[in-house]
Each structure stands twice: as C-alpha cells, then as structure tokens.
Symmetry: C2
Subunit: 242 residues, 2 copies
DNA sequence: CGACAAGTTGAAAAGCATCAAAGTAGGTGG
DNA sequence: CCACCTACTTTGATGCTTTTCAACTTGTCG
C-alpha cells in the first residue's frame, strides 16, 4: 500500500518493497470514529494506513479544532510528530481502519541501509508540505464554496491515484461537521454550501455516494492550479537500489 | 547557518558540517523584493538561506496569492518543489538576501553517504509540515487578531533560536500588505488589527522595530499550544555519524 | 421503536472585504 | 538638498460572507 504512494516518484526494487514490508510491525484495527493517537501523546511509532480514512487534526487552546489532513489508504500517518516530543496532531479514524504501526527504532535501519527508499520517503514529506500549502492558500484566499470545490477535487484526485482517469464518483464517509472542520467553516455554513452545489447540478449526493457532475466548473471554482509531481528525478535515480 | 537548524535535533560531527558546507555551490545575492524562483519555474536547485528574509507564496488562478512561509536565516528554501516538475511556490526576498544554491545532483551523495544528516533534514521537513499545520489551524479557526498574534510569536520564537530567552524586540521588515498576505486578510484589515494591538499596549512599533510588550496576552490571543521539538531522538542517534 | 447524532432552516449580528480617497515615508534624480 | 514620485499606511462608509443561536427534521442503529 505504502509503496504505491512512493512509486509515484520512482519504481522500487523487490528488495526495497520487502524492506518496506518489514518496517511495519503488527496490524491494528480501529472502529470508525476512534482516536488512534491524541495530540500530546508520546511519539513511539508512526503508521502506514492500509485501509480506511483517517483525519489528522490540530486542537487550539480555546477548544476549536482544525483538520489539517484527510489520509487515504497508502498514506503514512503521524510523521510530522517525529520532530516532536509529544504528538502534534490527533489521528482519528473516519471509517473502520487497518494500519501497520512502525516503531521508530526501525527507522534507523531504513536511513542507514536504504538511501533510495529514504529519498522516496523524503519526497513524500515534501509532497505533503505542498498539499498543506495548497490548503493554506485555499482557506486563506478563497471563500467557503471554493474551498469545498478544492476539497472534492483533491479527494477525487487522490482516490484515482494509479487509475487511468479521474474518478467522478466515490463514497464520501465524512459528515458535514467533519468537512466543515477541514474547510475552516461552521457546520451550518457547510450545509448551505453543499446544497448550493447540489442545486446547481455541479455535484450530486445519494447517501454516501458522491458524484462530481461538472468537474470543469469545480476546477474553475477551486482556483487551484494543476499539480505536477516529479517522476524519476535524476538525483534520486542515481542512488543505488540497495 | 543551515546546521543551526539541524542541530536543534541533534549535534553534528565536524565531518557532517563539512559535508553540509560542500552541498552549497555559489552564493547568490538578491536585492530586497526580488523573485528568487517563480511558481512554475523548473526545479534545478534548492537553497540554503544565509542572511535576510524570504517568503514562499502560492498563487491561485484568480490572481490571489497566499504566503505560506516566512523563511529566516538558516532555513532551507524551495524543498517542497523537489516533489514537483515545476516549482510549486514563488520565493521572494523581503530584505537583501544571501543564499547558497544547492544543485539537485549533490543530493545523491548526501542520501548515499550521510544517513544521519539525511535523517536530520528529514526531521526538518516534518517540522515544516508542523509549522504549516499550525498556520492552517490559525487561519482556519481563529480571527484576524489571533492570527496576527500567532504570527508575531512565531517570528519571535524562531528569531530567538539558540538564544537563552525569547526576544521581545526585533526588526520586522514585512509591510502590512505582506503580513496581510500571510494571514489571509486584506491590507485594510491588517492595518486596523495592528492598530488595535498598539492601542491596547500589547505591542509597540517604532519604524521597523517591533516590541512585544505583553507576550502573555499575545499567547492567550493566539490560542496556540506550546511547541515541543524533539532533541536527540534515539532512532536518529543510533545512526553512524559517517 | 426510541434515542441520539446528523442534517436543515431562519433570523440577526459580527467580522471582514471592498471601494474610494487622503495622508505619510523613503528613495531618486535634478 | 530639495522636490518629487512611488509605495506604503491610514481612514470612512457600505455591503457581503460567514457566524451564532435556536429550533426543528430526518436518518441511523441498538
């Protein structure tokens, strides 16, 4: 799963895939809406998400909470907290979730013996920075409806990773309250914005199933430039495959 | 300079400092308010900031722009674009700036031969993710005055890195327009917010010199929990110093 | 079927944007 | 060194987006 994410940057050798597999220890299962790790908890491990959706959120001192990331299968969870003594974000399962815990001690071997894999993980971290920059721009500079459009396109994009073309229809397990927390708006406003997109036939919702009817209009609304991930950068490919 | 940032995580060997020094090629100088690299430009190098302030900003398709990072001396610039074909952010000098350009090809040696240094850079990237998460929470969940308070404390904190206690007075080279772009508000509103903090004697401004008169009140306003960076994590320290 | 979470609606107020215009500082050339 | 120019700052008036509060409806699951 995790190697899917990494292979957007470069193909991995069998050896490297095996090393990745060994990184993970036990598989943990969580029910929907359970806390995997709370902001302030000690940082003993990071996680590789196998299946299900997980949010990362940041609690302010006044009780408000901002969701800073919606993690999809294949993502590495909790890595920003590696730089911290105590976790900087709360990880919460949205759906039932399966993940592999990666003990910090196994990172030593990774960095020591697998430079190419390390470089791919490094690129992943930089990619995550870019995702956050996009969100920051969306929330800082555009109104609620544009933020929502950008969120939907982001999810469709990431769910379509590895597929020929972009999905226009997918299961959206987030409640309106959770989406509001992602977009930095209130639940009430989230509701009105959602209805507006439905009324204008830009999206369609049938229970959990969301359909993007007019992706061109969504893209225009979102104001987001197209992403252009690097593939097989020369400096990375020059590294020995270990 | 760059090693100062890295050594918040772990002390570096003489060898490693030398390797870091070799990474950088030519030193470039820029006048204030010049573009170092524009969003969309090819990514041939990244940069280590020696002196001066630089902003990283993200342009939306409608012409709006969000500043996603204020870089201070010692920072690594432009790294998120490593994951991209064309640069994802525009780097602009705020003051006169000196920086060392690091060609991507030199990253190969770094990852291949210096696992400890690589790990420190990896932690830096994770730390930057956390900074972005903080900003996102600040902009998504709090009002303009709180965002401004958080920005001022962030700058004071980072300018005080390595010092015994936090600076309460420093040169602030940003214009109100630039600060507004960081906070996701208009220049007009930025001005009113600034005056409000001055009127209530929470800050003081004399030309470029800014003084934080009441940091406790600023901290309360900002709603930001205290940061707690990790120091000498076991998994990193277990790596051979190369 | 009953309880509780999620979604929906309306009215009023707050926060911020927008527009327009005037005032101020810093830097440059004459 | 002064005059001017330009970019930055400040101010006021107005309106839109979003929040807040409160109630009500619908859906979901034990």
């Amino acid at each position: 799963m995790l190697f899917n994410r990494l292979e957007t940057f470069t193909e991995l050798s069998e050896q490297e895939r095996i090393c990745l597999g060994r990184l993970g220890g036990t598989i943990h299962q969580y029910a929907a809406r359970s806390v995997i790790r709370r902001q302030g908890d000690p940082v003993d491990e990071i996680y590789a998400l196998q299946s299900g959706w997980v949010t990362g959120s940041f609690d302010l001192k006044d009780g408000r909470r901002q969701t800073v990331k919606v993690h999809l299968p294949g993502d590495m969870l909790g890595a920003p907290s590696l730089a911290m003594e105590r976790a900087g974000e709360t990880l919460t399962s949205i759906t039932p979730v399966a993940l592999r815990a990666i003990r910090l001690s196994s990172l030593t071997t990774l960095f020591q013996d697998h430079p190419r894999l390390t470089a791919a993980l490094f690129l992943c971290a930089q990619q995550e920075r870019f995702f956050l920059m996009e969100r920051l721009a969306s929330i800082g500079q555009s109104r609620a409806i544009s933020r929502f459009a950008a969120l939907l396109l982001d999810l469709a994009d990431r769910l379509s990773m590895g597929l020929a073309d972009r999905l226009t229809s997918f299961e959206l397990p987030l409640t309106q309250q959770e989406m509001a927390e992602i977009l930095g708006i209130t639940t009430v406003h989230m509701n009105r914005i959602g209805q507006q997109l439905i009324r204008t036939s830009i999206i369609q919702r049938d229970h959990r199933l969301l359909t993007l009817l007019d992706t061109a209009e969504l893209a225009k609304l979102s104001c987001m430039p197209a992403r252009n991930w690097v593939h097989r950068p020369a400096w990375l490919n020059a590294l020995a495959p270990a």
